[in-house]
């Protein structure tokens, strides 16, 4: 018997598998134990594949994105009911294994200083208020829970209504009175009128820590910058999809004396299908550069997501594409989500439904606890 066991042992050492056919075991306890030991050895050799142990591919970044404060409460010398901090990231967006997201991005809802052409299915959310920016602002806050507003002064463009700066400032004052959320003051995009408008707006909003949107190298940005410095506001430099020029411009703004914690970059958000891939790459490159320690790009980013509405897929009636009531907001919220994943911290948005969706997505991403869910239902998709 001993000999047989030795033979068996020898045989097992060389083989990976053991198949026993028609085996009847008639043995006492001792012999069985011995056999089991040998078998265990053989089985161990067969299962020589070690279980895989994952370790998260974490990386350290030497840079940190600057934090920018939006709005000033009474305690800060302003009259806003609330203020927000954006930025502060220490790793790429939603790389939870490297760091937890710091500040939740803020959605600033669009208000215009005149009735602007909007598709019917969007316009109907703002009945009777489009002639009155203050009422429009109130509706945004009361009905659509706006945490922040962007007041776009589009009528000041000489080619639109050429509203005087004085009159425009009156509108801004009205809105400041009407609502108590932090504000972004947007120009019309006219490079000659905007510097004058934005610097007067800075004066009117003194103490409120508003955001002046936007400045670019082809306008008299120094005037705006100086007004922002004097009245302690933030600025949005806009450079379309070009990280190199963005860096250069930020450097120039800092040279003029704008503090780094008062800058929010806008690299232009093209809607889905209208250049969003350039926006993604521009934003990702800037964010990575900032994290790697480039102080001129370690800034929070703004996304004028409402641009998505210029896509005909968002507003046009088209039987083949399905109802635009759903298609439109989806176009805007998808654009917003992609900007969010590319690093945007501040969103300017139009449609109440897209805003709702963005908020729900952010609710599920800005969570404290990432512990593994125990009851994973996913495989049941097969039975849906």
């Amino acid at each position: 018997m001993n000999e047989q066991i030795k033979d068996l042992k020898k045989l097992l050492e060389k083989s990976d598998e053991l198949e026993i056919e028609n085996l009847e075991i008639e043995a006492d306890e001792l012999e069985l134990n011995l056999t089991t030991q040998i078998l265990a050895g053989a089985i161990k050799r067969k299962k020589r594949i070690e279980p895989f142990r994952f370790s998260p591919p974490s990386e350290e970044y030497k840079g940190r994105i600057v934090e920018v404060t939006l709005g000033a409460t009474k305690a800060d010398g302003g009259t806003r009911n609330n203020r927000f901090k954006i930025g502060g990231e220490t790793s790429p967006p939603f790389y939870f294994f490297e760091s937890r997201p710091v500040n939740r991005p803020v959605i600033s809802q669009d208000v215009f200083d005149m009735p602007i052409p909007l598709p019917g299915h969007v316009r109907k959310y703002f009945p009777d208020v489009m002639d009155d920016p203050a009422e429009w602002a109130k509706l945004r806050v009361k009905k659509f829970n706006a945490e922040m507003l962007t007041l776009h002064m589009v009528s000041t463009d000489p080619l639109v209504k050429d509203t005087s700066v004085k009159e425009a400032c009156k509108t801004i004052e009205d809105v400041l009175q009407a609502v108590k959320v932090p504000l972004i003051i947007g120009g019309s995009g006219n490079p000659k009128k905007d510097p004058e408008l934005l610097s007067k707006a800075a004066e009117v909003c003194s103490g409120e820590r508003v955001v002046l949107s936007t400045v670019d190298p082809d306008m008299d940005y120094k005037t705006v910058a100086n007004a922002a410095i004097k009245h302690e506001h933030s600025l949005i430099p806009l450079i379309s999809m070009n990280p190199d020029e963005m860096r250069r411009f930020n450097k120039n703004l800092m040279k003029v004396g704008v503090k780094v914690e008062n800058l929010i970059m806008d690299l232009f958000t093209g809607g889905v299908g209208y250049g969003i891939e350039y926006s993604i790459s521009a934003m990702e490159r800037c964010r990575l550069a900032g994290l790697k320690g480039d102080k001129y790009l370690a800034l929070p980013m703004a996304s004028a997501t409402s641009n998505a509405w210029s896509a005909r897929e968002a507003w046009m009636r088209n039987e083949e594409w399905g109802p635009r009531e759903w298609r439109g907001p989806l176009w805007e919220s998808t654009t917003a989500i992609i900007a969010l994943l590319s690093g945007a911290d501040l969103f300017m948005m139009l449609h109440p439904f897209s805003i709702e969706i963005m908020n729900s997505v952010m609710d599920s991403l800005f969570v404290k606890d990432l512990t593994e869910e125990k009851d994973i239902k996913y495989p049941e998709w097969i039975n849906v």
């Binding site: 279980p51 895989f52 994952f54 998260p56 591919p57 939603f94 790389y95 052409p117 959310y125 463009d157 080619l159 006219n190 379309s240 190199d244 860096r247 232009f268 299908g273 209208y274 250049g275 891939e277 790459s281 490159r285 990575l288 550069a289 790697k292 480039d294 641009n307 210029s310 005909r312 897929e313 046009m316 009636r317 083949e320 594409w321 399905g322 109802p323 635009r324 009531e325 759903w326 298609r327 989806l330 998808t334 992609i338 109440p352 709702e356 969706i357 729900s360 997505v361 599920s364 606890d369 990432l370 869910e373 994973i376 239902k377 996913y378 495989p379 998709w381 097969i382 039975n383 849906v384």
Partner: protein, 517 residues
């Protein structure tokens, strides 16, 4: 129409973040080739073949001169860190994965995520036929490219091999494209794959319990295989087991989770998986897939509570949306509640899918067949997977639409490919004979080029001059895009032509001409 331009000016920032050099160079690959310049592969030289290999236009096997060993070595070198897996056969064959980078600016993303539409063996015959026809007819043209859906994913909700076999047979008879067969029951998978073995379907899925059986089927029928686990440890362990048995046609499904922090965990996992693959963790160097059908788990046809995103909208807003929907634009004939719910789920599915698309998912099974919920996704897919080295531009010159004469209008637009295709498409469908002057805006769309000042008076002036349009029309009127209205004065001063501001969108051109021309 698209032209390949040198990569945009290389940035001096940020260090190491410039367009990263490709992982390999043609010169490196050349060393693995026979250097005979025999021309058998269709290229004149081995160096040219090496370049085609890098661009994924040729495969290693296209070189007939390589020894078996040599071929093996070459394949090892060119295999990307996220392996490329082939599904289906013939003209329906699809490459999944084959990715090299985290960020598209580092090189490019290679294989656009294929979309498979979900079908279950418990769906009615009518519903299944509707879904087949949806996939077959789906085609949306953008920038001269026809965007399509890639196939049908059939799942066995009945867990009955016989029922599944019948459904697969039915779909096989009515649909010629690529298939995925889904069940965790090996008997079911076997019953299905027997029917469509010649299609080389993707088998879904092996898990910790069934993998030995499922692997056996995949090997027997020579099909690729999905491994599912929500745990990365288990995924890696299964890959170790399966690849140790010389099987590498693997796609990984890490699952998506619903619930409080589910989306965050899902996102986190997807990023870690891609990053680990690029870092050389060989157990994880396989493409990823997900099925957003899971989103519909809480949908019961009438009332539902979307798991992940609660309170999708203010009830009031939904009611409003619905009223408009009911009031004529797109009359639905379902009951109000179930219709809204279905819309909400479709919206949510699309939303989650956009996140997955952005975060490295290389294959997607999608349930909704509402065009509006798929439209942004396939558009986004086209965007993300565009080669950043190719400018989406058409040649800046004068184009003739229809048969224009000396009295025909002249329109100005940008050379962004999409703008050009939209505008010329609108002009053609409105049967307007005219000239379309395409100005070089560095491939930027109209709105963007106005904001970024890429459409300028001097640019328009040059384009006018080079087009020689002065000698082809009698009038001196130029119609510019509505979004460029503020540049009217500048253009007039620079060109001396009368500038007419066109509509905001080219779909309005026909009406515009009726009133103004």
């Amino acid at each position: 129409m698209l032209r390949i331009l040198p990569r945009k000016k290389i940035s001096n920032i940020p260090n190491g973040l410039m367009f990263r050099m490709a992982r390999l160079t043609a010169l490196q690959l050349y060393k693995y080739l026979p250097a005979k310049n025999c021309g058998e592969c269709g290229e004149t030289t081995c160096m040219a073949f090496a370049i085609q290999l890098l661009e994924r236009k040729k495969k290693a096997r296209d070189c007939p001169e390589l020894t078996e060993k040599g071929l093996e070595r070459l394949i090892e070198v060119i295999t990307p860190p996220v392996r490329d897996i082939e599904l289906g056969v013939g003209e329906n064959a699809i490459t999944v994965g084959g990715e090299e980078v985290m960020y598209r600016h580092e090189l490019r993303f290679f294989s656009p995520t294929p979309f498979f539409i979900d079908v279950s063996d418990l769906m009615s015959e009518k519903e299944i036929k509707k879904r087949i026809s949806f996939v077959e007819k789906f085609e949306i043209e953008r920038i001269g490219v026809k965007l399509k859906l890639q196939g049908i994913s059939i799942r066995c909700a009945s867990n009955d091999p016989k029922k599944f076999r019948e459904t697969v047979q039915k779909i096989k008879d009515n649909f010629s494209g690529t298939l995925i067969l889904c069940s965790f029951n090996p008997d079911v998978l076997k019953a299905g794959v027997e029917v469509v073995r010649d299609r080389k379907p993707l088998l879904y899925a092996a898990n910790m319990e069934n993998w030995e059986h499922v692997l056996k089927i995949a090997r027997e029928y020579d099909t690729p295989l999905v491994i599912y686990s929500n745990s990365i440890d288990e995924l890696g362990t299964l890959v170790r087991e399966i690849s140790a048995r010389d099987f590498n046609k693997i796609i990984l499904d890490p699952g998506i989770e619903v619930g409080d922090s589910g989306l965050a965990r899902t996102l986190n996992k997807l990023v870690m998986l891609r990053k680990s693959a690029l870092n050389g963790v060989k157990e994880l160097q396989y493409p990823l897939m997900c099925s957003t059908t899971a989103i519909w788990m809480n949908f019961n046809g009438k009332k539902g509570n979307p798991g992940e995103i609660e309170n999708l909208a203010d009830e009031e807003i939904v009611e409003e949306l619905l009223r408009e929907r009911m009031s004529g634009e797109n009359p639905g004939n379902n009951s109000m509640n179930s219709d809204t719910d279905e819309m909400k789920f479709a919206y949510q599915e699309s939303t989650i899918a956009s996140i997955l698309l952005d975060r490295f998912v290389s294959l997607l099974v999608f349930h909704s067949i509402d065009v509006w919920s798929i439209l942004p996704l396939i558009t986004l897919r086209q965007n993300i997977y565009t080669d950043p080295r190719v400018e989406p531009a058409v040649e800046a010159k004068i184009y003739e639409i229809g048969s224009p004469d000396e009295n025909s209008p002249v329109f100005v637009t940008t050379n962004f490919a999409l703008t050009y295709f939209n505008v010329s498409g609108d002009l053609e469908s409105a049967k307007i004979s005219c000239y379309l002057l395409v100005v070089d805006t560095e491939g930027l769309a109209a709105t963007v080029s106005v904001a970024a000042e890429k459409i300028t008076s001097s640019g328009v002036k040059t384009a006018l001059k080079e087009s020689n349009i002065e000698n082809r029309v009698k009038h001196r009127k130029l119609i510019i895009p509505g979004v460029a209205a503020r540049l009217k004065g500048d253009f007039e001063d620079a060109t001396g032509w009368e500038i007419m501001v066109g509509p905001q969108d080219s779909s309005e051109i026909s009406n515009f001409l009726k009133e103004n021309w």
